[in-house]
Every structure is written in structure tokens, then in C-alpha cells.
Amino acid sequence: MSRVLATYNIKGGVGKTSAAVNLSYLAARGGARTLLWDLDPQGASTYLFRIRPKVRGGGRRLVRLKTRADDLIKGTDYLGLDLLPADFSYRHMDLALDGTKRPTARLARVLKPLYRHYDYIFLDCPPSISLVSESVFEAADALLVPIIPATLSSRTFAQLEELVAGGPQVLAFFSMVEVRKSLHREVMAELRARHVTMLGAAIPAADEVERMGVDRSVVAEIAPGGRAALAYEALWWDVKRRLDLGGRR
């Protein structure tokens, strides 16, 4: 059976895709059978894995169970890590879901036949609040939420917890941290004090994360043993530990 983990934030450009790609890589490297579903029509994770952002029949047929997710999956360059690619048609995913019965249960139904083949399924979500994100909340065991330490990030966090109350675990972590900025330090201290589910590991702002888009690779290959690589390892360790305390589907 799988654990379903979604990288999610209402805000764009906070490090969701970077986290989804690096964490799923680490999961697979640790021996787990891992799948990443790139739900973002922009296809950033698909691009990073050098895979064509195309699913036969498009997103509509997929969420209506007319095509089987199983047939669309591509192996990445990393053993044990597979990708369900993005497709430009995912930009109409809301409409496609809207016409179905119980739209918010849809993504879980698409994934259900895959549970026995994967130990972890990552969902890389586009930034928004929509039927898609509601459907993600229903499918996911946990949300991995990157938070840039800045003014108002505490409010973002609180909003999110309210939004998914009763749903998946919310595991937030700091992203693009610049420890030299006193604002970052202050916000981090404040959030850690107020929210017990804030993870300990934080991802620093680092060149190698930016380089991912140029090299189309993971930080563990771009700068093995570097700050970002170590931070993602710590984060993954932290996430796994929290999951063991929670449930699985």
C-alpha cells in the first residue's frame, strides 16, 4: 500500500516542485517504489525528468477513468522512480472534475489501482485553491508545504490548516531560507513556536536548487553532499518519521 504525499501551497514559486522531485528521488534511492504525478499543466517536474509533458487522451479521460494511469507512467532515469507526466490539458482539470460524481474523490480513484505497486506516491500540485486541490486533499495522507519565511507566512499556514481540517496531515517546512536575513530568522522562530507540525528540517536558498532547471537533474547529482542535498535528506527523514506517527491509506 502507498502513502500519498502532495507538495502544496496556495502560493506559486515557493519550492513545491523542487521538493517533490528531490524527495521522490530520495524515496526511490532508499529502496521504496515511488511514483510522482505532475499535476501542474506547466509540467515543471516532468521537464526536470526530461520526459515529454504528454498523456495520451489528456487529463479529462484520465480523471474520468477512461484511460488507465498505469498505461501512462514513464520510468525516470532513477531506478525505482516513475513519473505520471503532466499534460497541458491539465489546465482544464477543474472542468473535467466538475462533471463527475463526487469530483473531490476523483484523484484518489485514479490512484487507487496504483497503491499496490508503489510505496510512495507524490503529487506535485499547481498553486491554487480549486477542485483539483480539494481532490488532492482527499487523496493525500499528508501535505508537504514549503513556506518561505516572510511576513504573513504564519497566516498562510493558519489558513491552510483551516482549509484541510480533518483531512491530510499538514507537514510544513521552510523553503529558500537565507539564514543571514534577520527577517527569516525571526519568522522561523515565531512559526516554530506556534505550530507543532512545522518540520525541523529547512531547505536553504542554494544555487544547486536553481541549477536543477538548467541541468535537468536532482540536487544529489548536481552537488552531492552539498547544503541543499543534505537538507533534502534531513527533510525526507523528518517526513518519514512523521508519517510513521500518522496513518496510511
Partner: protein
């Protein structure tokens, strides 16, 4: 889910560097450096993983289980050292245990072969420099016990990448048509096992014999007993070394089956000599009994625990430690006997006796020359009818021994059916009969087990109560005893129904029509 992996043999004497160069003339490749890896393969004594199409290997701190035909990873876990023996049921809950336990159950994974392999990983890439087919060049060598290495043919293993099946076909075409390579017939693992002089698929305890109905009964008996003796001998070392609980179990089943043949076909043996061999096999059965009973107790302990309310479950710990202690003591006593001259002579003497059986004078061996089909049929009818009489005499007031005796007869019938009838009588009669007998035996077995378990618990009460927390343990044991007695009663209640089926008019006439 994944397609097949394909192993191609590389030309002799080509180095992995050269092979990489050769391939790159025909394919767009991303090439890794040559590295070397040690890989230790594991399987159970009876080759359960291979039979399930799986392979388990330890390499660089990781034990992984892969699908043999696709090469697809099924599960893996970090492990600091290569294990000398691995019991799936002792692993932490997780994917690795989830894959292994249903396949191997109680059997230990044991080192099968040890390979040192030069490896070069290549990836065939597309226009985006994305890997679409994996190629692993391997030059394996088997390391045998003396440390000597036996080189195996180098190969190129094509690993499918999901969703790029067409590209795989293209690459196969290039290797076959362009480079003239041919696919290997066996997996590296099988090749290595053979090179190490071992048997593919491990050592089975199954009795798969071809008998003919018109064969002389003494020849058939010798064939069956000879195979049973192989099983006895094959399982003896693992029994003594306590590798896993199945060695002792299989050893005892083979001894018990041999004894059934001794009894049921006694007319094929010279009576005077048979008596002493019967005595020796009975002795082997007896000296291994307590150890097996305690094995079962310890293995089933988790299930026993669940029969008491959750908050008392931990209270049973002192009982478990007493059982473990007894088990070790029983093992020590058993191992002493099994290592004795008497055991060695019992087994080898029995072996030469059955080897000579057919050439012994026929005087006193009244059934020796009769066709086995006829003799086995006759015995089956006799034992079946005997069981009918015994079973009909059983009612709610019968003592436990009545059930026990019926069960013993039932075992005899089962062995007759499995060992002698299955090869010569129609399967459509034998199989359902074994099935209906099995349901009866399950109920009788449960009844008997509960009876014995209650008695065992009583006999341990004194020792348990002397331990710290022993008094509390006794209370929990009381709850357990209550459950065992309830279950024994339940088995009694079920007896009537399963016996009625076993003794049904249809079954009776089937037995009559088939076996005489």
C-alpha cells in the same frame, strides 16, 4: 506491469570498456565507469523464491528482492552486514517483509551463491538525453567456499524503462541484427548456482514418484521409502543446526510417512528384520517429538496471545520465556540423540535394508510380488473402513483418546493415498478424497493440539509461578486455558459434520469402486 529484461552474452574476452565502445558505435549512450560489486544471493533451502520468480540479493548494505524475469525491484531494505540467515517473520514490518513473508513463510533465507562482478552501467538516451533503455554490462565470477573464483560469461543486461517499450525493441534489434549478440538462456543466478555445483531450485521435500499399478509391491515400496530417506537425510543437518523450524518438521513427516509404509505394506518385508527397523524409526520419531511440539508453541505464541484480552497479553511473557527455555533444552537433548551412533546407524541401516529389499528371498514376504495397485487399494479400503467404525463409535461423551486414535488412522490413510494411490489411481477420485480427509484431519488435529496444549500449560504452571510476575502470568494462562478448552469443544462440535461427509454413502461407494 514491467516487461521482460533481456540478457545478452558478450563475446568472450571482450573487456567491459571495449564492450561499451562497441555498443556506442551503434547507440546513443550515457556511459558510467566500471566498478565492481559483490553480490550475495539468497534463497530458502527448498528454493521458494526461485519458484515464485523472485531473486533476493545483498549488495552494498542493501538487501533487495527483484522479479527475476523483469528485473523489477519489488522491495529493499538497508542492512549493515550480509546476513548468514534471515527469517522474514523476524524482519520489521515494511515492504521487504511484505514481499518475502508470504512466499517463504517460516523458511529461512540462506546464502546461495556469492558473486564478484565488474559492472558498467550504460543508458541509451533519447534526444532530450533521457534514459530510455538501461544496459548493464556485467562480468560475474562465482566465489566458492575455498575463495576460488569461477568466471562466468560476461553479459549485457537490458533493463526496460517503463513507457519506453518501443525503444527497447529498437535496442534489441540493434544488438541482435547489428552486433550479432544472442540472448543468454539462463539468468546469471542460475548460471552461478550451476557453476558452484549446486542444484537449481534447491532441495525439495516433496515426494514426486512415478509408480505403475502393476509394479511389484516391494519395488514400489523401495522406491517410495528410498525417496523418503533422501528427504530424511537432506533435512538432518538443518535440523541439527536449527536453521529454521521446517527442517525438523520435514524430517519428522518423512519419518512418519516411512513408518506408515512399514506398517501398511508390512507383507513386502522380511518380518524379523522389519521389526528392528520399525523400532529405530519409532525411536527417531520419539526423540524429535518434544522439540517439534515446543517449536510450534513458540511459533504460534503470538496467536495464543491474541486469545487473551489485550491488557493481559503482556502478562504472558514469563510463559514465553519458560517455553523458550524448554525448547532449547529439548533441542539440546534432541541434537545429542541425532548426533549419536545410534541415529547414524538407524538411518544408514535402514537405507541399505531398503536398497536390498527386492533381492531378498521371497519367503515370508507374502505381498512382495503382488502388484502395488492391488495391494495399496486393499489397504486403503481396510483403513477407510476401520476409520468408519472408529468414527461412528465417537459421540459427545467419548474420551480425547478416541479422537486421537482416529486421527492417527487418518494420517495413515492420507499417506497411503498420497504416496501410493496418487501415482496409480485416477486423480479425480484421489484428490477429493484427500480433501475430505483433510477437513476431517484438521478438526481432529485441532482437538488433539488443544488437548496437548492444555496439558503442557498445566505442566509449566509451577515453573512459571516461580518467576517474577509469575502469579500474574498464571492468571493470564488461566484465560488462555479457557480459550483452548472452548476451542477443543468447538472442534468436537464440528466433528460430526466433517465425519458425515467423509463417511457419506457416495464416498463409501467411490472407495469401493475405485480401490477394489
Amino acid at each position: 506491469m514491467a516487461s521482460h529484461a533481456h540478457d545478452y552474452l558478450l563475446p568472450a574476452r571482450v573487456t567491459l570498456e571495449e564492450a561499451g565502445e562497441l555498443l556506442s558505435e551503434h547507440l546513443d549512450l550515457r556511459q558510467g565507469a566500471v566498478s565492481s560489486a559483490e553480490r550475495r544471493f539468497y534463497d530458502t533451502f527448498d528454493g521458494l523464491l526461485r519458484a515464485a520468480g523472485l531473486a533476493a540479493a545483498y549488495e552494498r548494505g542493501r538487501l533487495s528482492v527483484t522479479d527475476s524475469s523483469s528485473g523489477e525491484l519489488r522491495a529493499a531494505a538497508e542492512l549493515a552486514e550480509p546476513p548468514e540467515r534471515l527469517l522474514a517473520y523476524e524482519l520489521p514490518h515494511g515492504p521487504l517483509r511484505g514481499v518475502l513473508e508470504p512466499v517463504v513463510e517460516l523458511r529461512a533465507l540462506l546464502p546461495l551463491v556469492h558473486l564478484a562482478t565488474d559492472v558498467r552501467e550504460l543508458g541509451v538516451v533519447d534526444a532530450a538525453d533521457k534514459i530510455v533503455v538501461r544496459i548493464v554490462l556485467e562480468r560475474p565470477a562465482v566465489i566458492i567456499a575455498s575463495g576460488r573464483r569461477i568466471g562466468l560469461a560476461a553479459r549485457a543486461r537490458l533493463g526496460p524503462v517503463r513507457g519506453y517499450e518501443d525503444e527497447l525493441l529498437d535496442v534489441r534489434g540493434t544488438l541482435e541484427a547489428g552486433l550479432g549478440l544472442v540472448e543468454a538462456e539462463r539468468t546469471v543466478l542460475d548460471e552461478a548456482v550451476l557453476a558452484a555445483g549446486e542444484q537449481l531450485g534447491g532441495v525439495s521435500s516433496k515426494i514426486d514418484l512415478r509408480l505403475r499399478a502393476d509394479q511389484r509391491a516391494d519395488a514400489a515400496a523401495a522406491a517410495v521409502l528410498g525417496r523418503l530417506l533422501e528427504v530424511i537425510e537432506a533435512n538432518l543437518p538443518g535440523t541439527i543446526a536449527d536453521v529454521d523450524s521446517e527442517f525438523l518438521h520435514d524430517f519428522r513427516v518423512a519419518v512418519r510417512r516411512s513408518r506408515a509404509v512399514q506398517r501398511e505394506l508390512k507383507g513386502v518385508f522380511p518380518p524379523a528384520q522389519l521389526a528392528s527397523h520399525r523400532g529405530e524409526l519409532r525411536w527417531l520419531q520419539q526423540v524429535t517429538g518434544p522439540s517439534r511440539d515446543l517449536d510450534v508453541y513458540v511459533l504460534d505464541f503470538d496467536a495464543f496471545r491474541l486469545t487473551v484480552p489485550e491488557r493481559f497479553q503482556a502478562d504472558l511473557d514469563p510463559l514465553l520465556s519458560v517455553l523458550r527455555g524448554r525448547r532449547l533444552a529439548a533441542r539440546r537433548a534432541m541434537v545429542r540423540e541425532l548426533r549419536s551412533d545410534r541415529a547414524r546407524e538407524a538411518i544408514s541401516g535402514w537405507g541399505s535394508f531398503i536398497e536390498r529389499l527386492e533381492s531378498l528371498p521371497e519367503e515370508g514376504r507374502v505381498d512382495a510380488a503382488r502388484p502395488i495397485g492391488e495391494l495399496a487399494g486393499e489397504r486403503i479400503v481396510k483403513v477407510y473402513r476401520r476409520m468408519l467404525r472408529m468414527g461412528r463409535a465417537i459421540d459427545a461423551s467419548s474420551p480425547p483418546e478416541a479422537y486421537h486414535e482416529l486421527r492417527k488412522k487418518g494420517k495413515e490413510l492420507r499417506y497411503l493415498l498420497e504416496l501410493l494411490a496418487a501415482p496409480v489411481f485416477p486423480g479425480e477420485v484421489v484428490k477429493p478424497m484427500v480433501r475430505s480427509l483433510k477437513s476431517l484431519q484438521d478438526v481432529l488435529g485441532r482437538h488433539q493440539d488443544r488437548e496437548v496444549q492444555v496439558a503442557t500449560l498445566r505442566s509449566l504452571a509451577g515453573e512459571v509461578s516461580a518467576l517474577p510476575a509469575g502469579a500474574v502470568a498464571l492468571m493470564a494462562m488461566g484465560v488462555l486455558v479457557d480459550w483452548l478448552l472452548q476451542d477443543e469443544r468447538a472442534a468436537r462440535d464440528e466433528f460430526a459434520a466433517v465425519f458425515t461427509e467423509f463417511a457419506s454413502p457416495e464416498q463409501r461407494s467411490l472407495v469401493k469402486d475405485t480401490f477394489r
